[in-house]
Symmetry: C2
Subunit: 112 residues, 2 copies
């Protein structure tokens, strides 16, 4: 997983933009209006989301239409998948670890 993707999402205004775009593509002006932000900030946030590959732009006259990029979410999903398997395999590995730890302690005592 790339930290650029995560840190792009880790800012509340940007997260709101992403959740807005869940309902379909929007222009900068529409986002500005709905989130009650200033246009330059929205443009800046969109730049960061765009650089992170989370959104993509399409120019239409003097409008810019932003929409979510599927791939970004697929990547996140794939990453999460590597964690899902952990709990599928075993619910609680703490007991195992404690035993392992305790047996190591035992060894140390023997050696001293």
């Amino acid at each position: 997983m790339k930290t650029t993707t995560l840190s792009a999402l880790a800012e509340s205004n940007r997260l709101q933009i992403v959740e807005l775009l869940r309902n379909g593509p929007l222009t900068v002006g529409e986002i500005t209006e709905r989130l009650r932000l200033r246009q330059p900030q929205v443009s800046k946030h969109l730049r960061i989301l765009s650089d992170a590959g989370i959104v993509e732009v399409h120019a239409f006259a003097n409008r810019r239409i932003y929409q979510l990029r599927r791939q970004a979410f697929q990547e996140l999903d794939a990453w999460l998948d590597s964690f899902r398997r952990i709990w599928e395999e075993k619910l609680d590995r703490l007991d195992d670890y404690l035993q392992e730890l305790q047996s190591k302690e035992g060894c140390r005592e023997d050696q001293q």
Copy 2:
């Protein structure tokens, strides 16, 4: 989705800690050793991960054993799910949006 979760993950050292813990619980010392960081920084990062609900601690003598919290990943998963549906429903909503936009332009001309 909470931005605390995302920003906790959005830092490379912390992301590495999380990926380390994928293989099972570890003590602070083990994390410190494997990531070649300084102990205080590791403790600080673990604090942030813990506050975000991504890891949980178990005290064992003077050791602290950290492990991933399933719920955090389930929440991320649930959030991602709301996006999966978008693309299941419709692959490309840009064309729709463009038509919508163009019909609005038409209206505006009529009104003026």
